[in-house]
């Protein structure tokens, strides 16, 4: 009994255990449900999976199923980020416990009962539990906002000038009165996430009442959309953006982002987050015609802040890696930069995102009528869905890179894990990007060989990634059976203790 209770205490009572459980849940869902679409469906794997698991899928209900699937995965990711925030930032123990417990119950209920309802017959009690799970996550979000309140004296730095040098406090972005702008950025992101959730919840209730589920990518090009439809479109865009922003802040905290770049980046992050949200919320107001412009204005400072994190962290990696050399050459600096894939990887993935998502998105926006809207809507849909699948997956890889460091991978295993994650995912994402943009350089009639090649690359990259994750998860499972496994070291560790010096 003690054997079990200790393991459960680790898995559901410690930050690293909670993160492990959520990663495992997402990994399993991704692996199983990934076999229901794309090339797996063509080669007949979908039928095998559906029959083996006894899934009950009606064609007419596809949109609703997919919405529940997206939410099931996204809520687990939101939970992982929340665990990271509650472990990295100072907050009252009560809040930490309450938030983690609530969000854990929330995402597990959402995932298990949501998927059970959507894919295994329609038990409406399950649907109720799915909604209850989502509500718990919302409530955990409200608690997180309260816990992060940055004007609380305990979380402030010493006022200037005393605080300038004390404990390096002066190296972080702050106001004269000691307000931590990094904490404000976390707070703003959490607060706007909670508010933006309503933009999905309210129309969700409205459409759900008549079971009128729809996918946003299917109503592109319609010149007139209802307020509720705009709200859904705004919701899905901003939630993914906020997950990305929160992760950028988390990575910054882990790497101990500071100095002049931090001082510039944090105000930009706060400004970007607020303006971006105002733009998205504006789609349901008469400001809708200018909402896109506001969104661009908001996205720019947020992306600049991420760029500053990259510049600072790469500079630090190069400086630290060549500290023993009096005049390091360019090659030595690059070698130092690439020495640790787990520290280099997160910001590299952020940079790579510009080629696969942000760059493509901007290109599409500025050449929409000249290029993309000359193509049929289905082509545009491929770009849209590919675009945000890649963005979601990039977020997942950044989490996994941080997780690799969290579980203290060392030596060759650290190298293999880190570089495999980076190379395999970037290979897949590059293939997806070329697939999305293929109509720029190849016609429908002759595309099949290229499509096949890109599919091989995508599937190879993603399948190997999942295999890598499976190996890690099996290793962690085996570790749980050991009396003095790694889990015993992790059970009391907080991420704040592992923030880099």
């Amino acid at each position: 009994m003690q054997f079990l209770s200790k393991r459960l205490e680790y898995l559901f009572g410690s930050t690293k255990g909670l993160i492990l459980v959520a990663i495992a849940m997402v990994g399993i869902v991704t692996a199983v449900w990934g076999m229901l679409s794309g090339p797996m469906a063509e080669i007949g794997v979908r039928e095998v999976v559906v029959n083996a698991l006894g899934m009950d899928m009606l064609q007419a209900e596809r949109e609703g199923r997919i919405i529940i699937l997206y939410h099931s995965i996204a809520m687990a990711i939101v939970a992982i980020e929340t665990y990271m925030v509650t472990s990295l930032l100072k907050m009252k123990p009560f809040f930490k416990t309450a938030i983690n417990a609530t969000i854990t119950a929330g995402y597990i209920l959402t995932m298990i009962f949501g998927l059970s309802f959507a894919y295994f017959g329609h038990n409406w009690a399950f649907h109720g539990l799915y909604i209850f799970g989502l509500s718990l996550i919302f409530f955990a979000g409200v608690l997180l906002v309260i816990a992060l309140w940055p004007w609380n004296k305990e979380y402030k730095f010493s006022p200037l000038p005393e605080g300038r040098g004390a404990g390096g406090e002066g190296e972080y972005s702050r106001t004269k009165k000691g307000l931590s702008l990094e904490r404000v950025a976390f707070f703003a992101t959490a607060l706007t996430t909670v508010i933006s959730a309503l933009f999905g919840a309210i129309p969700g209730s409205f459409f759900g009442n008549g079971f009128e589920s729809f996918l946003a990518e299917n109503i592109i090009r319609l010149p007139e959309k209802t307020t509720m439809e705009y709200s859904i479109i705004g919701h899905l865009h901003i939630m993914l953006a906020l997950i990305g922003i929160m992760l950028t802040l988390i990575i910054g905290r882990w790497l101990n982002f500071k100095g002049i770049w931090h001082k510039i980046a944090m105000p930009l992050m706060i400004l970007g987050t607020i303006v971006l949200n105002l733009g998205v919320w504006g789609v349901v107001t008469p400001l809708e015609p200018v909402a896109h412009m506001v969104i661009y204005v908001g996205a720019t400072p947020s992306m600049l802040a991420a760029l500053f994190l990259l510049i600072w962290s790469w500079g630090k990696l190069m400086r630290e890696g060549t500290a023993n050399l009096t005049k390091p050459t360019f090659g030595k600096k690059i070698s130092a930069l690439l020495r640790d894939p787990l520290k280099f990887g997160p910001t590299w993935q952020m940079l790579f995102m510009n080629f696969t998502t942000s760059g493509i998105g901007i290109f599409m926006a500025i050449r929409l009528d000249e290029i993309f809207r000359v193509w049929p809507a289905r082509e545009e849909r491929i770009e849209l869905t590919g675009h945000w699948h890649v963005l979601s997956a990039i977020i997942a890889t950044i989490i996994l890179l941080y997780y690799g460091d969290m579980i203290n991978l060392k030596g060759k295993i650290r190298q293999w894990y880190g570089w495999s994650l980076i190379v395999l995912s970037d290979l897949a994402f590059a293939a997806v990007t070329i697939f999305e943009m293929k109509r720029l350089f190849i016609s429908e009639a002759v595309q099949q060989p290229l499509v096949n090649l890109l599919m091989y690359l995508m599937d190879f990259g993603l399948a190997m990634l999942l295999l890598l994750l499976a190996i890690v998860l099996v290793w962690r499972l085996v570790d749980l059976f050991k009396a003095k496994g790694r889990w015993t070291e992790e059970v009391n560790h907080e991420l704040s203790q592992e923030v880099l010096k």
Partner: protein, 306 residues
């Protein structure tokens, strides 16, 4: 040393295998690769009667109604379109200009809505003649269908070309409602034949029909009315007609519909195609494109009456 050598050899074989797969997937596509020819026994000149009355429209099953009309049982075939072009060229209704067939379209009202483009009255391209995917041949004086494609749906035809064909014979393109009612009947089915889809119901992406080879040229059109329950060689089809007896209302080619919506120049397509997944063959799924768009996966059929 021997182990190192073996490891290297294994890695080389793996790498070579990967390169071979990649190179094989880069082979050029032969658009004129031989295609199986089958007689389906379905006459493309037949029409089906659709009575007036209510039906379930769209994914969310709104109640809508139409007047009575007649609709072609199959898509317009390559042969039918070639016959049209011969007649229309002879009486001056269409002309050959710069490698394409052009015909007159009276234009749409332009409202200047965001993203809307003006479709003015004038000559517009019906079909390109110089595109390698075009299945109509022109010898300088007459049009004909490529021999193996005579009973295949006419493709590589713009919305103007579809509109022009129907208009020439006094028909018209179906509205989205008419199209969906003809495909769905009066119940809530998602596919013309019923609730679920099997590979033998329709020509869709990777449906393993006799006309596709996903390893090389990909998917190709099937003859109109192919999915009628007949066995063609070793390939057994399922009878996949709609409640009103229409063929190919799901898969094979997207079909242009006739609605011109206020504030947008896009035209809507229905039915999914040989290039789309089964989910896009659900009856309420729509696609849209500019009226100038042509594709090897887009065709049409006409309606008359009302």
């Amino acid at each position: 040393m021997r182990n190192v050598f073996l490891t290297l050899r294994r890695r080389s074989v793996l790498a070579l295998g990967l390169v071979a797969v990649l190179l094989a997937s880069c082979a050029p596509v032969d658009l004129y690769a031989p295609i199986s020819t089958f007689e389906t026994g379905v006459d493309p000149n037949t029409w089906a009667q659709v009575p007036e009355g209510e039906f379930y429209f769209g994914q969310h099953e709104d109640i809508a109604s139409t007047a009575a009309y007649e609709i072609m049982v199959t898509d317009v075939t390559v042969t039918q379109y070639a016959d049209f072009l011969n007649a229309a060229l002879a009486d001056g209704s269409v002309k050959v200009v710069d490698g394409e067939i052009q015909g007159y379209y009276p234009g749409d009202e332009f409202r200047g809505v965001k993203h809307e483009e003006e479709i003015a009255a004038g000559d517009w391209a019906f079909i390109p003649l110089d595109d390698p995917s075009q299945r109509i041949q022109f010898d300088g004086s007459a049009f004909s269908a490529q021999p193996d494609y005579t009973n295949h749906p006419m493709t590589m035809v713009s919305w103007f070309g579809a509109w022009g064909y129907c208009d020439y014979y006094g028909y018209r393109l179906p509205s989205e409602m008419e199209w969906e009612k003809a495909a769905r009947g009066t119940d809530e089915r998602p596919f013309p034949w019923g609730e679920e889809i099997a590979r033998e119901n329709a020509n869709f992406y990777a449906s393993r029909d006799p006309f596709e080879d996903m390893g090389s040229y990909g998917s190709r059109t099937s003859p109109v009315g192919f999915y009628n329950g007949q066995k063609y060689g070793d390939y057994q089809t399922l009878d996949s007609t709609s409640p009103y007896g229409l063929y190919d209302m799901a898969g094979n080619v997207w079909q242009w519909t006739g609605d011109v919506y206020e504030g947008m120049h896009y035209r809507f397509l229905r039915g999914g195609s040989k290039d789309t997944y089964d989910m896009d063959l659900r009856l309420w799924v729509s696609n849209n494109a500019t009226p100038m768009y042509v594709s090897p996966g887009v065709g049409f059929r006409c309606v008359q009456g009302q």
